[in-house]
């Protein structure tokens, strides 16, 4: 059938990405064990090349391939660059980790590249099956990468839980797809929206099907009540993979969800007005649960897991604020995703560096980091302040933007709840910062301090003593993190501040992206 495969060249980046993955596998065979870290640099260079390629090739291109399976538009381009970028930074921050703690580096990077491919396709696909398959490509890579610390039972357990729940939820997702298909006969997004707005006697099967699809995606987003896998998997996974899960797979899932909502649901008008409240309810539950439970965490990865659940809640609130005639909601979500990714990458890079040096990952282990390795401490602190929504960092600006959108869509209560929960989140972020800056180095946490971090006797031993009289010299400084991690951290710092102070340029791109999926706006 002609016409289907016209301007196939627009998919060059995807094919090139797959090619890059195979190249990595190939080179892997040639390199001796001690040189394998070069694969990481190879992947980084390749990804950067792909960024350049995409930026040369795609801007301004508007097309749908294969009769509406794939979209080539500003939205896809934006997320493509975002995902490639995330990939670059994740690889940069994992090179040393892989060298120190993991086997099979070649496969590791290869799988990572495949998963990036999957994410790109998720952002591009405009049809349920294509979306599903791309999502599975991402998920499968993640299943493997989570299990990558082979000897570590936690990693193993994490991947087992992940794949079981993943398969379970994809079964649900597929059942939803089947219901939609059996009641509309179409699986393309605009087909769905067209059918929704044209057909008069719609079947309940359709509604339930849509609900099931949302459940399936909700699992991928780790939105309550489909979130429970996240903490375990995050904790079990090797740190770079945790970072990747927290940042990339969430961003991809939202890229998919956003396109689905924007192209299939939002145009339907009054029905969407009724459905908004459902998303809002999910958002409220998610942000509350995530932030409250995070209060009780001791493990860094687990804390980041719950905090990311909280952020998912905020973004979902933004999704509830989508509207056919305003880009505010879409902008807010995309801006938030970018800001969240930037900040989290910085934090995780710092944590990875810390882990590489100490092998510790409990919050209490961070004690005195400000003295032992100030740069890392500053990065983590700034990152957490940013996630807590304080200026001059991007966290503040993105939250302000997103919550404004939410309020503007008539969900002032939801915005209020979001603001309140970010107050709660500030508390546990501050607990981490307290460990790094206030607790003296090497000071083992006092008994009872775990359950009550700011209780009275926590510093009864230095009453009436100004802190700067405390002996702060009994720490052993950490080695300077290697260049790759250093680069990530510094770039992250710069980006966090820059986006927080002057987001206008980024927001123009974001506008372009969201305009591509919400032509009405």
């Amino acid at each position: 059938m002609s016409g289907l495969t016209d301007n196939l060249y627009l998919l060059t980046p995807e094919f090139a990405l797959a090619g890059l993955a195979f190249l990595v596998f190939a080179v892997d065979l040639l390199l001796p064990e001690e040189r394998k870290h070069l694969l990481g640099w190879l992947a980084v260079l390749g990804l950067l090349g792909l960024v350049v390629l995409s930026l040369l090739l795609l801007p301004g291109k508007e097309a749908t391939l294969y009769g509406g399976l794939l979209a080539i538009d500003g939205y896809a381009l934006f997320f493509k660059v975002l995902f490639l970028g995330i990939g670059v930074f994740i690889i940069l921050s994992s090179i040393d980790y892989v060298k120190l703690h993991l086997t099979h580096p070649g496969e590791f990077y290869g799988l990572l590249l495949f998963s990036i491919l999957g994410m790109n396709l998720m952002a591009q696909s405009r049809e349920l099956l294509t979306a599903y398959i791309s999502l599975e490509l991402l998920s499968f890579s993640l299943y493997v990468m989570v299990a990558y610390a082979l000897g570590n039972p936690k990693s193993n357990e994490g991947s087992l839980k992940y794949i079981i729940i993943g398969a379970f939820s994809s079964a649900i997702l597929l059942y939803g797809i089947s219901m939609v298909y059996s009641s509309l006969g179409v699986t393309r997004f605009e087909g769905i929206s067209a059918a929704l707005s044209s057909i008069t006697d719609l079947r309940p099967a359709l509604w339930v099907g849509l609900a099931l699809i949302i459940v399936g995606l909700g699992f991928k987003l780790a939105a309550a009540p489909f979130h429970m896998w996240a903490p375990d998997v995050y904790e079990g996974a090797p740190l770079p993979v945790t970072a990747y899960l927290a940042i990339a797979s969430k961003a991809a899932a939202f890229a998919l969800l956003l396109r689905l909502l924007a192209e299939a649901f939002v145009p339907v008008g009054d029905r969407w007005d009724q459905w908004q409240i459902i998303v809002a309810a999910l958002a409220a539950l998610t942000m509350l649960l995530g932030n409250l439970v995070a209060l009780a965490q001791r493990n860094l990865k687990r804390l980041m897991a719950y905090s990311s659940i909280g952020h998912v809640g905020y973004i979902l609130a933004g999704a509830a604020a989508l509207s056919p005639d305003s880009l505010l909601g879409a902008n807010g979500i995309i801006f938030y995703l970018v800001g969240y990714s930037v900040t989290s990458i910085m934090v995780f890079a710092a944590l990875i560096a810390f882990f590489n040096a100490t092998g510790q990952e409990e919050i209490a282990d961070l004690a005195g980091l400000a003295d032992r390795q100030p740069l890392l401490a500053m990065a983590v602190a700034i990152g957490l302040f940013s996630l807590g929504g304080l200026p001059i960092f991007v966290g503040f600006t993105m939250k302000f933007y997103l919550f404004t959108a939410v309020a503007n869509a008539g969900f002032l209560w939801l915005a209020g709840l979001a603001i309140f929960t970010s107050l709660i989140s500030l508390y546990y972020y501050l607990q981490v910062i307290r460990q790094m800056y206030i607790q003296p180095a090497l000071a083992a946490p006092l008994p009872g301090e775990e359950d009550n971090p700011d209780n009275e006797h926590s510093s009864a031993e230095h009453t009436h003593t100004p802190s700067h009289h405390l002996p702060h010299d009994d720490y052993e400084p950490l080695p300077r993190p290697p260049a790759a991690l250093l680069a990530v951290v510094v770039l992250g710092l710069i980006a966090t501040v820059a986006l927080g102070v002057y987001p206008a340029p980024l927001l123009e791109l974001v506008e372009a992206a969201s305009a591509a999926i919400l032509p009405g706006g």
Binding site: L160, F168, V208, P225, D232, R271, W275, L292, A296, D451
Partner: protein
């Protein structure tokens, strides 16, 4: 006359100089202070004669309504508060001014203040010699006198209040001058706080008047009060509130407790501040605001009653006190009470006349006590006696003061007191005159007691080393003594040259000098009898007194304990105030903070601890949760769709 504002400014100016450079200046800067006050004293005469020559049509001068006195006032804007603009408007803005008023009252006070201050400062040169904080002493002195002069010159309530507070501050600083002594420290605190209570009333009164009048100018307030633009009730309230302030400053019952303790300060300070000038400020205030008081009769009655109670109570305590300075302090209180009483009895002239006479005499007495202290380092009169042998000059001068205040004829105190008796007799219930006469008797008695016990009778061997004080001290005392002797004649009408003080210091209408024979004789008899009895009791030592003491032992104890008023205060402060504040502080920490603040915080944290249990770690319960969520979501979606 428009240069009158320089009088305080002189002294204000020298304060920072002394504080900053005192250490390096000759005499630690004391000459500066004295120079300043000399300048003030000179200027006072200039102004006095300027004023005597002034007529209602001199510029800035007019006959004040109601008081009927010639009044000159000069003003400068201080600052505006509220919307920009010039005219006072109670809802838009208020203009605050530096303004001075020059009228007989102000001039009289000027004279008293500058003269006594001058005397005392000279006296202090040798009295305070060698003190570690000599320079600070003179700085505070200068500051005080500056504030005091501002106080008497102020033409609006706000400026008056400012000066009022400043003199209070100086009294605090000078009482606590030897702050190493716990007693001095506590006395200073007590003085400040007790007077402060009165000041609250004063401030409220002032603001109340502003609320009614829209400006802080006294004249406007009085006009409003007299013309009835201000309701009777408000006028009474305002008057009483002002009087509250006056009670604090002038140590009227029940605010008198601070003055005796204030004797912890250096004696010259007691002479200047706590006898002659500052404590008289209360009387001055009432006199100044007399139109307001006059507008509401009840206020005046209250003034009279308080005055009488104070006068009588203080006199009795003075009678049994054994500390020389405290005797003088209580006598001061008592005489201030008399002045208030007289004001309450429309005895405007009498009150002010007595204020002046008492000022000179009491200053003299304090300086005398000071020189005794200087000589003996002793204040307990029971350990003294026959000092006239060693310090004759002091003895004579002290006696003059005592006789004058004791009301022995031809001395100043006699005439002024006589005027008061007349006023009381004319305007108040007979009971008042009786009690007033009793007070007169008592005051004569305690004066005589102090005088005889200290200077006459058997020489107490405790004081061989005692000696006459240096000339600087005796000379100043002598000058005051002269005034104590002859100031009374100011009351008379010297045909041709001078018509008596009543035509200068008066309210509503000039008063000639008048004399009621029976009152005069009666008071004289009482005074003489008192001195006679004292002579027998303390010099000749016949033991009638002991029997008397024995008979009234119970009463005596009450009086010796100053009617337990201090104890009452102490109790109310310790038991009530501190307990209550302790309770509030506890409330703030235990309830507001630990419960209302930490409570919710901990609650949220506990909530997290509980909620986290839902992640069981078992994959099948995750699946279950998803299934339940699925059901909920599906139904929700379904409902929202149909």
């Amino acid at each position: 006359m428009e240069w009158a504002w320089l009088i305080p400014v002189f002294s204000f100016a020298v304060v920072p100089l002394i504080i900053l450079f005192g250490k390096y200046l000759p005499g630690k800067g004391s000459p500066l202070a004295i120079l300043a006050i000399i300048g003030g004293f000179v200027l006072f005469w200039v102004i006095l004669f300027g004023f005597l020559n002034a007529t209602p049509d001199t510029e800035n001068c007019h006959i004040a309504e109601k008081t009927g006195a010639l009044t000159c006032s000069y003003q400068r804007t201080w600052f505006d508060a509220g919307f920009p603009g010039t005219d006072n408007d109670v809802d838009k803005r208020v203009r605050l001014t530096w303004g001075i008023i020059i009228d007989p009252l102000a001039i009289a006070m000027l004279g008293l203040a500058t003269f006594v201050a001058l005397m005392v400062q000279i006296y202090s040169l040798s009295y305070m010699k060698g003190d570690a904080r000599f320079d600070w002493y003179y700085a505070f002195h200068a500051l005080f006198i500056a504030a005091m002069l501002t106080l008497v010159l102020a033409d609006n309530f706000l400026l008056l209040y400012v000066a009022w507070e400043l003199v209070g501050l100086c009294s605090y600083l000078l009482i606590g001058f030897w702050f190493e002594r716990p007693t001095a420290r506590e006395a200073a605190k007590k003085a400040f706080i007790v007077t402060r209570i009165g000041d609250v009333g004063l401030l409220i009164g002032i603001l109340l008047l502003w609320r009614e009048v829209g400006s802080f100018s006294m004249a406007d307030a009085f006009v409003a009060a007299q013309s009835g633009a201000m309701s009777q009730g408000v006028a009474t309230a305002a008057a009483l509130l002002l009087f509250l302030g006056a009670m604090g400053k002038s140590a009227q019952f029940p605010f008198h407790v601070w003055l005796p303790d204030a004797m912890e300060g250096p004696t010259p300070v007691s002479a200047l501040i706590h006898a002659a000038t500052m404590v008289a400020a209360g009387v001055y205030l009432v006199a100044r605001a007399f139109p307001l008081f006059a507008a509401s009769g009840d206020a005046l009655l209250v003034v009279a009653i308080i005055g009488l109670v104070t006068a009588l109570g203080a006199a009795t305590i003075a009678l049994v006190s054994t500390d020389l300075k405290r005797i003088l302090a209580y006598s001061t209180i008592s005489h201030l009470g008399l002045m208030m009483l007289s004001l309450g009895a429309f005895g405007y002239t009498a009150a002010l006349f007595h204020l002046l006479a008492h000022g000179f005499s009491k200053a003299l007495l304090f300086l005398g006590a000071g020189s005794v202290m200087h000589a003996t380092d002793e204040l307990d009169i029971r350990k003294m006696g026959g000092l006239r042998k060693v310090m004759p000059l002091t003895a004579i001068l002290f006696s003059i003061g005592a006789l004058s205040l004791g009301g022995i004829p031809i001395l100043a105190g006699f005439w002024s007191k006589d005027e008061i008796l007349i006023a009381v007799n004319d305007h108040l219930h007979p009971a008042f005159i009786v009690l007033t006469l009793l007070t007169v008797l008592l005051s004569a008695l305690y004066m005589a007691r102090a005088m005889f016990v200290v200077f006459y009778g058997r020489f107490a061997n405790a004081q061989e080393h005692a000696h006459e004080s240096p000339p600087l001290m005796t000379i100043t005392m002598a000058l005051l003594g002269v005034l104590a002797l002859f100031f009374g004649f100011m009351a008379f009408n010297w045909p041709g040259s001078y018509e008596g003080i009543g035509t200068f210091l008066f309210y509503d209408h000039p008063e000639g000098f008048h004399f009621v024979w029976w009152l005069g004789i009666l008071s004289t008899v009482l005074a003489v009898a008192a001195f006679g009895y004292a002579y027998l009791a303390y010099v000749k030592r016949n033991d009638g007194l002991a029997g008397l003491k024995g008979r009234f032992a119970g009463l005596l104890r009450v009086v010796e304990n100053k009617y337990y008023i201090d104890e009452a205060y102490q109790w109310s402060v310790d038991r009530v105030a501190l307990t209550f504040s302790g309770f509030v502080a506890w409330l703030d920490r235990a309830v507001v903070n630990d419960v209302a603040v930490n409570g919710p915080a901990n609650l949220v944290r506990r909530l997290g601890e509980v909620l986290k249990l839902h992640v069981t770690g078992h994959v099948y319960s995750y699946a279950l949760a998803m299934a339940l969520g699925l059901i909920g979501l599906a139904i929700f979606w379904w409902i929202q769709s149909v």
